[in-house]
Amino acid sequence: MNEAAPHFTPPAGTPPIVQLKGIAKYFPGVIANQDVDLEVYPGEIHALLGENGAGKSTLMNILTGIYQADAGEIIIDGYKREFASPQQAIAAGIGMVHQHFKLVQAFTVAENIHLGWDETPRRASAAKLERRTADLAKRFNLQVRPGARISDLSTGEQQRVEILRVLARQARVLILDEPTAVLTPAEARELFSALRNFVAEGNAVFFISHKLDEVLEISDRITILRGGRKIATEKASDCDPRMLAKLMVGRDIVLDDMRARPQGAAPVSKEPVLSLKNVTARGDDGSPALHDINLAVHAGEIVGVAGVAGNGQRELSQVLTGVRPAASGQIVVDGKPMSGRNAAAYAAGGIGHIPEDRLHSGLAPALSITINAVMREYMKPPITNAGVYNPGAATALSKEIAEAADVMIPDYGMPIRNLSGGNQQRLVARREMRIANKVLVAAYPSRGLDVGAINTMLRYIVELRDAGAGIVLISEELEELLNLSDRIAVLYEGRIMGELENQNIDIDEIGLLMGGRTQSEKTREVA
């Protein structure tokens, strides 16, 4: 995967296309950026690497005029510039593709491209706009369908529309915020080649990421931010993942194989604690989302579920935890059939659940930390006795959970949304671990977390496995799955395409399964 990046040296005598000098930005109680110096040269892909909250997005928001710097200078092509708005930055040739696309879902690709653009003809038919869009797509070598509605496009296509939108406005510096988070490996490769073409014409790219491998793969130079300050700028060819991780978090991080059991760890059980037999389920819109799923999880093992997000992971984790009823098939927990039982019964039966989107489904962001922390145990003594809820006992329990999660909490009555994402996730994980004496279903437990927090989260999961619980780990980070899982099942369009024992797994094989090819097809291809 990590092919050698083209060797890049800033050409002598060429001025940087963008130069940032001494940039600082303060938010209440937080230094978002301070003393950041940075240059990007024509023809360069420059990665910005850092943990969550390291100041990457703030810095790029300053460059694109969304924020104004409290100190420092922006120099474009040798001239000092100040951007009061994104429009001014775009006029200066700087465009950004955000992590969350800013497209109008109900509009066509062509309409989105032409929205809020001063070169859009005053009167133009849909056909004319589509023709213009097709021309643009050809010029920038980006495949889009001008007449299609955004809501009908895959995320990869949507991203191309976003990029085209920026490029059409004559951007010479393209900023991409975590662009691969939503892409399949194949789509990511397509993106990378498009970026290479773009910089080859004397343009530049800022590439924000916290994925070490892809940063090493795509970028020419890498700038590492930590705590709002620049730590280093290095040529990619001089870097390796371990060194980058250390620079990012400021200490050595072990992203290691965690499959080995320590002494005294619970053994893998003979009988599964949780099994799905021929389970199907419907999505929110009533259409089939899971087809004929068979999966068995034993105590003391970790079963990984790989796949591109949106292929049934959400429904699978919900079916596994009783949040979503199965349309047919059988779910057995510890020998007991669970059909017709709700999520509370699953939780009472010892199934914990770290949901994929903790803010949307695992927490009530506006409610207090205490209310959120006791979500799994509020119905039992000491919190509830004979229907009477005891707020004091609830706070006591939430203190216990916060201590186990090693989260400092000034006020248990404050809304949990005031905590950082990492701390929220730790609380959720600790809350679920308390009840998960049979199974823990962890969906994307490391999503949106930085390297340090990911490490904590994975340690929690291993700890629980060693204590004798079965784990279902749903993730899009292959490395994470490979490091933790005993087996990996690959999900594609609601089907399990294959289940692989985690011994000398061929990554390409997983990639093909993720893309919808079955194991037999793969074999045929090889043959």
Partner: protein
Amino acid sequence: MFGNWRFQRLPSAHPGVAFGARAAAVIAALVFTGIILAIAGANPIELAGEVIDSSFGSSFGLEDLALLFIPLILTGLAVTVAQQIGTWNIGAEGQFYLGAFSATAVGLFVPGPPALILVLMFVAGVVGGMLWILVPTLARAYANVNELITTLLLNFVAALLVYYVSTGPWRDRVGLANSATPRLSAEVPEFWGIVHWGLPVAVLVVIATAAVFTFSRWGYEVRLSGSNPSAAKYAGIPVRRHLITVMLLSGGIAGLAGMLEIAGTVHRLQGGISNNFGYLGIMVAVLARGSSIGVIFSAALMAFILNSGIILQTQGLTTSAVLAMTGLILFLTAIGDELSHYRITREKT
């Protein structure tokens, strides 16, 4: 230099600061109103004196406040209760009408000793309010139809229904310049001037509701369901069942307000019986910010504002001045709430 001063937004407001900001907002609104009145040629100090004297200077004034307080506290509570499950009951007005309507039906047509009739009217009022919110509740629970629209639209139906019966089939045939039903013989007894026992009943309902929400497992589940239904589903809480129960409770409380207004204050059903108390309840709930106990204070403030309106009218001011004052208080309170999240600091360079 100014550049060194910064506004800092804090994640949550300190309760003391929040309270201070609200007090400041109310005072600022009063000062603004005073300035406007002065520009209009009135003497604001004198008017303020008159308002305070008339409101608090005599038991007559306090009775008036109390009588306004009863329906406001209940409609405010109705809206607040619905908020706990994450819904907006804009239909407290209609449920108030139906509570009044149902209580009147019992009062007019069911024979029996007054004490028994009163109990039946109480039940009828609550059930009437519940029935009026039933369809929006089921539509929301089973078809996810926005209750904002459905409850609002039913207000007009309820108002017209009450107009119809009070000017038509149930009309009193003698001695009125406007149409209303005959006077109901069962009355909530008065215990202090014109103030009837509805006052302690209403306050008790608020306290009981607040206690249930804070100190019961059910209350916990409702709060969680209201704040984030997906999280509640995730926790295995029967969100739909709670939604239905809470919305019916909300409608029942608004219906009780209508019943008490009929049986305690007005004694006849007529068009306009609601006096906008249902809509004012929305304002009360907004000011109470989701706190059932807070409803007591915001209803008291609203009662004072409404009563001040009457006083100011006898001083030659129009109702619009009073409406403007109400709006100003709400507006400035919103600003105050937001500002209480900020503090000003000085950066060291």
